[in-house]
Symmetry: D2
Subunit: 352 residues, 4 copies
């Protein structure tokens, strides 16, 4: 099998770009044909990321320098808001996995509400498929544009959707607290992300208004509006993200109330729902820890009875840079090009 699918990474100077390069190492089909960056254009990747020095990689160029007629696949790793015109301008032959938030919301009014400006490629929005692989696999296979989910939504929706689809939950508030490694902020140079400002401490942020809530609401409401007597989309999710001083890893603790089920039953229902999934694990015992998924595309979940009856606490972990970003992007690209979904995604977690 030759490396015959010509692949470009736009925004390769960010962490998700670098992580894609790590995951694409020795990929049997995707050949790196172009890497773009704006302020760093002209540099070798080894200057921008010394850990990539042993790899032979194209130099960083501006995206306007790429001949996209010779590109089959684009991974778009640009910052939110900068992606829309660029993707709209790509020729039809190019298939795209977009890691930004720009095409995740089907409703451009919701986009405007959460992101504060009109969507600049609204016509494309309706064709974009939300790339939560386990729930949109068939549509992803034939999609031209996949909107890769956010890291928080990935860790939260994966355990919740099977329970919601089965109508197993009392829709009293679903209370989600998530802990994120700092790489979730990308390589953004800002005081709040300095080592000295984060080392040895924890904090919450974006309480009640983190933009990832928009995706969560969209996906949850799609399900709840189907089985609700009330046709109004309904999403009673409370979401509080936290920053913890680790580089990689995301843990979501999800508090729900079950409709006449026990926690064990809920675990079994989710286990059954995901029984053929290569990257989903529901633990038989113990509690999920981010160490179990570091460097992998896996989502591991554990289900725990609460102190109150019918109370269920779910712990869900991913590597925010892999299943929460670049790994899921590769999983989707594998599907789009008819390759085994797990290609280059079966590494063992790196521990300790």
């Amino acid at each position: 099998m030759g490396k015959d699918i010509r692949t470009a990474i736009l925004g390769a100077s960010g962490y998700t770009g670098a992580e894609l390069l790590r995951l694409l190492n020795a990929h049997p089909s995707f050949a790196i044909a172009a890497l773009t960056a704006e302020t760093q254009a002209g540099k070798e990747m080894a200057e921008v990321y010394p850990h990539l020095a042993p790899r032979r990689l194209p130099k960083l160029v501006k995206h306007t320098e790429v001949d996209f007629s010779k590109i089959d696949l684009v991974f778009c790793c640009l910052p939110h808001g900068t992606t829309q015109e660029i993707i709209a301008g790509l020729p039809k032959n190019v298939r795209i996995v977009d890691l930004s938030a720009d095409f995740r919301l089907h409703d451009i009014a919701a986009y405007k509400e959460w992101y504060g400006h009109e969507h600049r490629a609204g016509a494309l929005q309706k064709d974009a498929v939300y790339g939560l692989t386990e729930h949109y696999r068939e549509r992803i296979k034939s999609a031209r544009l996949v909107a890769n989910p956010g890291c928080y939504p990935t860790s939260i929706l994966l355990p919740l959707l099977p329970l919601l689809k089965g109508a197993y939950l009392d829709l009293s508030p679903i209370v989600v607290n998530s802990l994120s490694g700092i790489s979730g902020a990308g390589r953004k140079v800002a005081q709040e992300y300095l080592f000295t400002e984060l080392d040895g401490g924890v904090s919450a942020y974006g309480i009640g208004r983190h933009r990832h809530l928009a995706e969560i609401e969209q996906e949850v409401s799609k399900v709840t509006s189907r089985y609700s007597l009330n046709p109004v989309p309904h999403c009673p999710v409370s979401f509080t993200p936290h920053l913890v001083p680790i580089t990689r890893g995301m843990l979501s603790t999800i508090h729900v109330r079950l409709n006449d089920f026990e926690a064990d039953t809920a675990a079994n229902l989710v286990r059954m729902a995901y029984k053929d999934e290569p990257f989903m694990t529901v633990l038989e015992k113990g509690s999920a820890s981010t160490h179990q998924v570091r460097g992998t595309n896996r989502c591991i979940m554990s289900f725990h009875p609460g102190r109150q009856s019918q109370e269920l606490i779910i712990v869900s972990v991913i590597d925010n840079l892999v299943k929460g970003a670049s790994g899921q992007a590769l999983q989707n690209a594998n599907l789009m090009f008819g390759l085994p979904e797990t290609t280059n995604l079966e590494a063992t977690a790196i521990f300790p």
Copy 2:
């Protein structure tokens, strides 16, 4: 003012003992008269804790070697379950602040349920005052035995109690997620607390069954049983603790539903309740971070509206070794001996 109150620390080889010694440095009234340890008896503190080498401190001895007739105050830093007979055996002249869990639960049946064995000093239990200073100050002043609260309950009860006492909360589940620094586990030598097992990862533990829930239920139920039509004590608290790779610091994120109030109003109510308290801060803006309290006896709280109406998210931070243990113990001891409550507790947080 002379150092005239003869003070012993039992279990001085643990982290709370060491932290008490840090806080007692140059205390104007409490003189260290004895330090005890069991396996480490006979050693100098400088061997057990090299950072204490510059201090002139008594050698560690077994507690049976101490002449308690010459001791006025005992800080008891022994592990849970080992404290009861020892405290029961102390002469009446000695006043005690116990940092273990042994005397926190008034109900010895509850003690047995949570700790798995009969209480061995049940007669003392009823005299013990729960040492959450801001809520039991007057009783603490005259107590012989103060049961210093756990770190999690301290961080959770301080913001919740004023809201519960004012009946401002809808008693739908109160969902608490707490993040704890590793020093909360003490100096226990176990595989799960190795650097390599914790660095770079996060996990939840004790879900739905952490023993600190017993204290939380006791204190919450005292309040809710007063204003409930239903005389049955009621505590709808769901509590999930997490370990995060920091040494010191505890952050609790508390999700509640307000009775027709806004988050700002709730913040004001708690601010008013604590307006004369030296160690309580309700932020005017921003979100509480553990960095703001490291090394201090302070509890800092921030109040945030949720996405749903009447939803309130509270963030509460303490240093688990100070306000969550040794600092609150000293605050209580200061009160018990008629000293200014803030004596030796007014350091600025250590940041960065």
Copy 3:
């Protein structure tokens, strides 16, 4: 004792400024009269450093807004190179401790060589006293301008100078490797200081050309030129600094060759030299660790025989923000104003 010495901190928005405020908390004599910053002028300290919120502090103003005729003491915490004109412009009544490198080098030619531009206040340079307290105490007492040493030179010169002064060392290369916590870089917002770039890794930097070597060479040569047959100043120090992912702390490992002495003898010589010093400790056994000095003004040293005969390895630790910066600055200011040198500098190390 009243707070009668009116104190200004210039550049209070950096870490050394914040650390000075921590150390000055409840200082019996130094009253904070002004705090300056440039881009952050107009803000409350609580905005810039939330951990200082509980303190009542003046608002940040530009240094041009301060009436220096009403100031007795200035701590100058400005970046290197920005300090010279400002200090030259202060009225004569003001005494100054400068934490920058601007006045550390007596020789303005050496300054130009290392810093790349002409000194802009050369006339003052010769009056400045190098503020390594233990070696310049008498001159500091009467100095108007004290040039507070760099963190690396402090940790290196303190163990070396007594050995050099006694001519106990063979002047074959003295090989120094130092490990620094990240706060040594200040609050500088740059990619290389992001959490994600530093967490979980170590590196060396500035090899053979770190500017602190200029100070080391100056101070070592002063001694070696005295006892050398060769009157040429001589400093055979090789210095390699490293960044380690801790926030505070500095450890220097110094490899020297002794003139017919054993390591134990060398330890005793240094111990004797510092026997009356409040902040110098030579360990009797064990190896110095940064944990032993965190938050304190102490320098702890340990002396170890090497594998080869006459080989001595010295380990020296300080808290880079305290003895390596703000603590030594306060120690010097205490001396300059006739106060006990240890005032507000006797805290116990914060561990764990």
Copy 4:
């Protein structure tokens, strides 16, 4: 290519065992036939290492339960001192890579001196090949027993040996300071390796007497005795190891004096010596950082001129668990079985 080489890992419950399992994932030739442990025998690997749960692996058994007649290759990951009789008892058909120190020293008198007891399999010692692959490749190919080098010696000898072999160094003291991640201590449960004891601090240990010095002396002396007029083996290496709070990674800073060469020339000489080596990199610019090698089998070196003439500072980095242990073991095993040396060892470093 089938998985036809039956492989056992003895001591699979330690970190080097777990790391071997990570590296052997999907190896085309080595099939895991047996995993042994002593106190943990009877457990599934998923209990001992939850991150390995997704893998289908044999249960842990005692080594006495393994039928070694059906084993082709043994990786021996047992603690130092426990390996000798076990390896001596293996049947002749089994080829062995031993990750302990037990067979690294050719001279059993030196073994006794450093390890404090008689060697218990002295006859085997002389057949063991020191597994520093780049310097013993041909002998490793045909060896029955390879003694895999220690992590410190690997990081130190790789840059030093080409310079020593070329007689480019003045044999004045070679001063080595190394920084090690905590995983170098294995999964040993001891107070000194607790998170709380290591987080936020650094220290030196084993100064002048770390056992890895024995290996360094052996390998250096082999070279220096060849070109010395003095036939006495000579190794003027001073070695000071340090613990830094990272989990993986090792950095050695090596100070040498060149014989009439410049640092650049030395870099070129080493670059030429390793020009065909798949895992050796001499940087063209910049300084080697452990982040560049995390998770990989690579050794990256950078060469820097010192402040004094002819002074050279070398920085050398490896992942202590990969090139410093399990990766080099796999590299050696690949060679022993005629496989491409790089099989399963070409992953990109994991950063951030």
